[in-house]
C-alpha cells in the first residue's frame, strides 16, 4: 500500500514550499537551540569552568544539536513530501515506541525528566509509514520535553479507540495546563490545519504542523487532549486487519 499527496497537502498547496511564513517559523524554531549551543561554546572557550561543568556543557551541546538536527531533517522530509511515495505497511507500534523511548532516554535524563512507554494490554498492528510515524512521535516527545515539569515522566501511550478501527499513539506530558483560549485555538487549528499550528504558547508550531502533514500522508490525523496538569498530543491511524487474519 502506498500514499502520495493527502488532503493536507491539497489544502495547503504544498506547505513549506510556499515561501516566507514557513521559513520564518523554521528560523524561529532553530534560533533557540543554536543560541544555547553558542552560549555554551563561548563559555567553554573562556576556559573558566571546572572539569565536571565542562563535561556537562559538552553533553548539553551534543544533545541540543541533535534536537536541532532532527527538526532540520523533518523540514527536509516535509519539503520533499510531494515528490515522494510513502510505503504504508503493518507496524507494531509497541516495538516502534520502545525504540523511541530507548533513543530519547539520555536526552530526557539530561533534562531531569523521564520518558516511558505505556503499552496496550493486547498486541496491536497499525498501518503507517515507519519513518514518518517515528518522526511524529519524536516530534511530540520533543514538544513534551519542553513543556514537562522537571522530575516528571513523559508517557508514550498506545491505545485503541472504541470502534476498533483506529489506533491512537499519544504523548502525555505533565506540566502547566493550557489555558482555555489556547486550547480552543489549538483545537480549531488542528481541525482545520490551514495555518501553522501553535503547539505551545512559546512555539511557532512548526513541529506540530509537520507532524500533521506526515499524519495526513498516512491517512491519519493528529490532535490534542487537555488535562488539568498537562496535555496529550496524539496521532490516530488505521488499525491493520492482518492480526484478524492470523
Amino acid at each position: 500500500m502506498s500514499a502520495t499527496r493527502g488532503e493536507h497537502e491539497r489544502l495547503f498547496n504544498g506547505p513549506l514550499t510556499d515561501g516566507l511564513p514557513s521559513l520564518v517559523a523554521a528560523a524561529h524554531e532553530l534560533k533557540s537551540p543554536l543560541a544555547l549551543v553558542r552560549q555554551l561554546s563561548l563559555m567553554l572557550e573562556g576556559g573558566d569552568v571546572s572539569a565536571n561543568e565542562q563535561k556537562r556543557m559538552l553533553r548539553q551541546i551534543s544533545l541540543t544539536s541533535e534536537r536541532a538536527l532532527r527538526l532540520t531533517s523533518d523540514l527536509t522530509r516535509s519539503v520533499r513530501m510531494s515528490d515522494a511515495m510513502f510505503t504504508l505497511e503493518p507496524i507494531n507500534p509497541q516495538q516502534l515506541c520502545e525504540d523511541i523511548v530507548h533513543e530519547l532516554t539520555p536526552l530526557f535524563l539530561a533534562h531531569s525528566r523521564d520518558v516511558k512507554l505505556i503499552p496496550h494490554k493486547h498486541p496491536l498492528l497499525l498501518v503507517a509509514n515507519r519513518d514518518l510515524l517515528r518522526r511524529i512521535i519524536m516530534n511530540f516527545s520533543d514538544n513534551a520535553l519542553n513543556y514537562a515539569e522537571g522530575g516528571t515522566s513523559v508517557e508514550i501511550r498506545i491505545g485503541m479507540l472504541k470502534s476498533g478501527n483506529i489506533i491512537r499513539l499519544g504523548v502525555r506530558d505533565y506540566g502547566p495546563a493550557l489555558s482555555g483560549d489556547i486550547l480552543d485555538s489549538l483545537r480549531g487549528k488542528l481541525a482545520r490545519a490551514s495555518t501553522p499550528i501553535h503547539a505551545r504558547p512559546q512555539s511557532s508550531g512548526l513541529g506540530l504542523y509537520i507532524a500533521s502533514q506526515f499524519a495526513d500522508v498516512m491517512n491519519g490525523k493528529i490532535g490534542v487532549t487537555r488535562h488539568r496538569d498537562g496535555a496529550t498530543f496524539y496521532v490516530d491511524l488505521q488499525a491493520s486487519r492482518q492480526l484478524n487474519l492470523l
Binding site: 533557540s32 543560541a35 553558542r38 555554551l40 563561548l42 563559555m43 573562556g46 561543568e53 502547566p176 512559546q202
Partner: protein, 123 residues
C-alpha cells in the same frame, strides 16, 4: 563582587542554567523560575534586585508578567533585562514604562553581556 539577588525567568532549563553559571561566577545570588506563574511567587518570596526575563515563555509571555509587576508598587520598580530571540523586534523606548532597562539578543550576546547589563542597571 556583587551580592545582589537576580531572578532568571527562562523556560529553557539549560539556558537558565547557563545564565546562572555566568552570574554566579560574577558573584550574584541567583533564583530561577521556568514559568511566569512560578516567577510571580518567587518575586514575592525573594524580592530580587533585578530580573532577567525571556519573552516567549511556557504558559504566558513575558508581557503578562510585566503587566503583573507594574500592578504593584513594590514590584514595579524592579529593573528588568529582557534576554530574547526577539530582540530585533523590541525596543527599550517602547518598554521602559514596564521597567525594561536593557534588551539582550540571545543570538548575538556573549555570556559576559549579562553581567555588564546587570552592573549597568544596578549601578
Amino acid at each position: 563582587m556583587s551580592t545582589a539577588t537576580i531572578l532568571i525567568v527562562e523556560d529553557d532549563d539549560w539556558l537558565a542554567e547557563q545564565h546562572s553559571r555566568v552570574l554566579t561566577k560574577a558573584g550574584y545570588k541567583i533564583a530561577v523560575a521556568l514559568h511566569a506563574l512560578v516567577a510571580i511567587q518567587v518575586i514575592d518570596d525573594i524580592n530580587p534586585d533585578a530580573i532577567v526575563l525571556d519573552v516567549l515563555l511556557t504558559g504566558s509571555t513575558a508581557f503578562a508578567l510585566l503587566h503583573e509587576l507594574q500592578s504593584y508598587g513594590d514590584t514595579g520598580d524592579i529593573p528588568i533585562i529582557l534576554c530574547t530571540n526577539l530582540a530585533s523586534e523590541l525596543s527599550v523606548d517602547d518598554l521602559e514604562l514596564y521597567g525594561v532597562k536593557k534588551i539582550l539578543d540571545k543570538t548575538t550576546m556573549v555570556p559576559d553581556d549579562l553581567v555588564v547589563a546587570l552592573r549597568s542597571v544596578l549601578s
